[in-house]
Symmetry: C2
Subunit: 151 residues, 2 copies
């Protein structure tokens, strides 16, 4: 019988495992610095996220084990008649737990959470170097509508 996955806000005790998951990925391995103790910048970011009512770092857990993570940000905008939006970022599943639908459950949880926060849409961007990611989100119901740019 499949065990139930629990979603909860991350605590500081989860942070090592979260960074390990983020670093264990083709793009993440170039961007992150997973070493123990963790670089202070991760701890500072964790504090900033936890103290901000418009940011939530969420982990998916199978009993005690952290098997997935995402961050959801709620933003009030003037556009769209003053509508709040939810932005999802940093979605990752533990490598040994991939292809079991955990990512889908995480995203569906985020969509539900966004509704609770009265967001009129959930948005995310996927790097062009992740060709499968967009297809994954499209299967869940996302529509590709924009191009992301950065400087």
């Amino acid at each position: 019988m499949e065990s139930d996955i629990i979603f909860r806000e991350a605590t500081e005790q989860d942070l090592n495992k979260i960074v390990e998951m983020l670093a264990n990925d083709a793009l993440g391995s170039k961007r992150e610095r997973y070493e123990l103790p963790l670089p202070e910048s991760y701890k500072d970011a964790f504090k900033a996220i936890s103290s901000d009512p418009n940011n939530e770092l969420v982990v998916a857990c199978d009993e005690e084990k952290v098997i997935g993570v995402l961050q959801i940000t709620f933003t009030p905008y003037i556009t769209h008649q003053g509508g709040w939006r939810a932005t999802v970022e940093g979605v990752r599943t533990l490598s040994s737990e991939r292809s079991k639908g955990i990512g889908t459950k995480l995203i569906k949880w985020a969509i539900q959470r966004a509704k609770e926060r009265n967001c009129h849409l959930v948005q995310l961007t996927t790097d062009k170097e992740r060709p499968d990611a967009l297809r994954f989100y499209e299967r869940i119901g996302f529509k590709s509508h924009s191009r992301g740019a950065k400087v």
Copy 2:
């Protein structure tokens, strides 16, 4: 002689003019509801933005006249070694003031503001229905790196 453009945080007195600018646009005309008095949802969003230290609604002014607007959001993320990012949204120039470089000045102001806030990057998305917008941002130095999706 060209007058100097001032950038400042918007006040509630600027809100009518801001919504008028947002609505005066091919996509905005479908999304916004510019009528006076303004729908309460705009005022609620304005209050949420002004009371959030990680959100700034900024206007460009030529003397007293509001001629441009953008919103900038600062977000702490665990990804990129706990790096803060700035997201720019709702960039609009008054129709009578277009093609004078005001949009460019607004974006350059935002890039500078993001540096002051220690953001490691400035990101934005442009709707696929705005083919010129991406080229505009690329001229300023943005690189298209991702696809945006929403649900």
